[in-house]
């Protein structure tokens, strides 16, 4: 099986003023289709920089990056934009939905920039289908300010899915959510992953990382550990436990 992501000795150096900041110092990494990877590390460990590089928002100073067998190291701005559109679905910590724009239109938005023209009717169907995958088809006409944080993040996930990318890239997707909603979102990810979608997620929360299949820990721009997750949590089970615990508190009180 060809890897979705193949990083070979990736380095990124920022030239800010007098000193050079070596944010990523030689990372080599392969991620296969169907994997669910958590990238962890303290702030300044280079995980955000790595995320931007994998997401084709930035280009490495040196090294080779193959995404779905395309060598992205040499592409220009416009070509990178097209790669992001076709191959990558982004999910952000702050949801980053367009305000005063309905959930459906938010989900349709990436298709506007698709190179093949998609009929308005098909756009709508695909967006509705994506919303259905995240369990929000009944909220299609709602505006972001009418949705809870968890619902907004589901809309963002639907938006990331709508162009059928090779890879979902989530940057601290649960950072702005309470613990129960966080588990719900991880449940969505686990469901999508079980359908074969590759997911890479940056997080600094250990218990959130335990819902993934593989954890890569960074420090000072280098990979420290890269292990399969032991005692993987299942979001559905955890949610049930959580509800029962709540129920118990209510009964005793």
């Amino acid at each position: 099986m060809n890897p979705v992501i193949k990083l070979e000795d990736i380095r990124k150096t920022y030239h800010t003023g007098e000193v050079d900041v070596h944010a990523v110092q030689g990372i080599s990494l392969q991620i296969l289709p169907g994997e669910f990877v958590a990238i962890m590390g303290a702030s300044g460990s280079g995980k955000s920089t790595l995320m931007n590089l994998i997401g084709c928002l930035d280009r490495p100073t040196s090294g080779r990056y193959g995404l779905d067998d395309i060598d992205t190291s040499t592409l220009d701005r416009d070509a990178l934009a097209d790669i992001r559109n076709r191959k990558i679905g982004f999910i952000f910590q702050g949801f980053n939905l367009l305000s005063r724009t309905s959930a459906l239109e938010n989900v349709e938005m990436p298709m506007l920039y698709n190179h093949q023209h998609i009929q308005a009717q098909e756009q709508r169907e695909r967006a509705l289908h994506a919303l259905e995958l995240v369990g929000l088809s009944d909220r299609a006409d709602h505006y972001p300010n009418q949705l809870s944080g968890g619902q907004q993040q589901r809309v963002a996930i639907a938006r990331a899915l709508v162009n059928q990318p090779a890879l979902l890239l989530a940057d601290e997707p649960t950072g702005n959510l309470d613990s129960q909603t966080s588990i719900e979102i991880m449940g969505v990810f686990q469901k999508l992953n079980s359908q074969g979608i590759t997911i890479i997620m940056v997080t600094h929360e250990l218990d959130i990382a335990r819902y993934t299949k593989r954890t890569v820990v960074l420090r000072d721009g280098r990979v420290v550990t890269d292990d399969a997750v032991q005692n993987r949590l299942n979001a559905e089970t955890e949610l049930r436990n959580l509800r029962e615990a709540h129920q118990a508190i209510k009964l005793t009180a």
Binding site: R77, D78, A81, D82, R84, N85, F90, L97, T101, L112
Partner: protein
């Protein structure tokens, strides 16, 4: 890039901030409105002048008596009785391109009919006068050459005189007294309205020029000679021929000075519409300045909008919008602003000119071509003022834009 989707995005962005959109458009509305209103007013004025000039007559040349130097003192045009009846007859008989000639003498005097009296302009003319002036009769008939030869005591009167002297009766066949000459009314002119200089053209009594010269005024010179050329194209030639003929008849040196002046209708028209043109230029200048201000307003708001929506730009870029897509989006927004503003401006400019027309009775006219020019320049202003902000937006770095708070 799909234009319709982008257009929809732009419209939605404009709807989101209605007050700001309206205020920004106001610059364009005022600018374009001012252009359309000023153009309407000046072209209306110009058209009116042209119509009045045309009402003077068809292919008409006017010969005025000239200036004269008397012992070193130079008198202005018209102060010398240098035109003779014989000059008019010579022009009529000797020149090829002339179809009609009327020697004209004007007297302002009191006319009396019954117990009414009225001060009017009494003009001695030839029977061809009505043909030259393109002036039909309402009733009766014009005097003929026989009556000119006999200096008959007949006259043709204008509508103003009818109104003043014969308010409730048919003037035809009645007698009026011009000074001490009783004249029978044989014809009544149709109304011709005001002249380009604002004079009432209907306040007129026409008599045979012989009657005027021999009976009423007893003069032996002619005030003006009206000449009709055979066609528009023949006018410059006829003008030159008249000049040559009169130079010869008056025993003048060919290189001047002249004691007469030949003016064509076009000369008069140009002088009259020159004022309207200057006025129009002035108004158009003011309008152009307000358009410029409108454009600057759009650029200002677009710059604010780009800064405000940096994060949106970042999101769009993250999901795959190219720099060009962002550029087009903001450009369309600016052009939409300016075109809608321009459209409302055209409508309100026309509204204002109609209002002015109905309040002041100035004629106004909005030429179609100016509606086109106004629409086109609105679009151009939108592109020019929107380009820099849109370009700035398209050059944003997606990572920085996404982090922007």
């Amino acid at each position: 890039m799909r234009i319709f989707a982008t257009l929809r995005t732009a419209l939605r962005a404009l709807r989101r901030n209605k007050m700001r959109t309206i205020l920004t458009m106001l610059g364009m509305i005022i600018g374009v409105g001012a252009v359309i209103a000023s153009v309407s007013i000046t072209s209306g004025a110009k058209q009116q002048v042209e119509e009045q000039i045309a009402s003077l007559g068809e292919n008409m040349l006017l010969i005025f008596p000239g200036s004269f130097s008397s012992s070193g003192a130079r008198l202005g045009w018209g102060n010398w009785h240098s035109l003779q009846l014989e000059d008019a007859l010579a022009i009529q008989t000797q020149l090829q391109g002339v179809t009609a000639v009327s020697p004209e003498n004007r007297t302002r005097t009191q006319i009396i009919a019954g117990n009414q009296n009225w001060n009017t302009s009494v003009q001695g003319e030839s029977p061809e006068y009505l043909q030259i002036r393109q002036w039909p009769l309402a009733e009766g008939e014009m005097f003929d050459n026989q009556q000119v030869r006999t200096a008959a005591k007949v006259c043709v009167i204008g509508q103003t005189d009818v109104k003043e002297l014969f308010p409730n009766e048919d003037p035809l066949g009645k007698m009026i007294r011009v000074r001490d000459v009783p004249c029978q009314i044989i014809g009544v002119l149709q109304s011709k309205g005001l002249s380009p200089m604002g004079q009432d053209q209907d306040d007129i009594v026409l008599v045979p020029y012989t009657t005027e010269l021999k009976r009423i005024n007893r003069e032996d010179w002619v005030d003006t000679i009206l000449v009709q050329a055979v066609s528009q194209a023949a006018m410059p030639i006829v003008q030159q021929e008249i000049t040559d003929l009169l130079v010869q008849r008056h025993h003048l040196k060919p290189e001047g000075p002249r004691d007469f002046l030949v003016r064509s209708q076009e000369d008069i028209a140009q002088a009259a519409s020159a004022t309207a043109t200057v006025m129009g230029g002035l108004l158009a200048g003011i309008a152009a300045v307000s358009l410029l201000v409108g454009g600057i307003g759009i650029m200002n708001i677009m710059l604010v909008s780009v800064t405000e929506r940096t994060r949106e730009i970042g999101i769009r870029m993250a999901v795959g919008a190219r720099g060009g897509d962002i550029l087009v989006q903001f450009l369309i927004e600016a052009v939409t602003l300016s075109i809608i503003g321009g459209g409302i401006g055209i409508a309100s400019g026309m509204g204002i000119s109609h209002l002015i027309a109905s309040l002041t009775h100035w004629p106004t006219l909005t030429p179609i071509v100016w509606i086109g020019i106004a629409s086109f320049s609105s679009a151009v202003i939108g592109v020019i003022s929107g380009f820099y902000p849109a370009w700035k937006a398209s050059k944003l770095d997606p990572i920085d834009a996404l982090r922007y708070e």
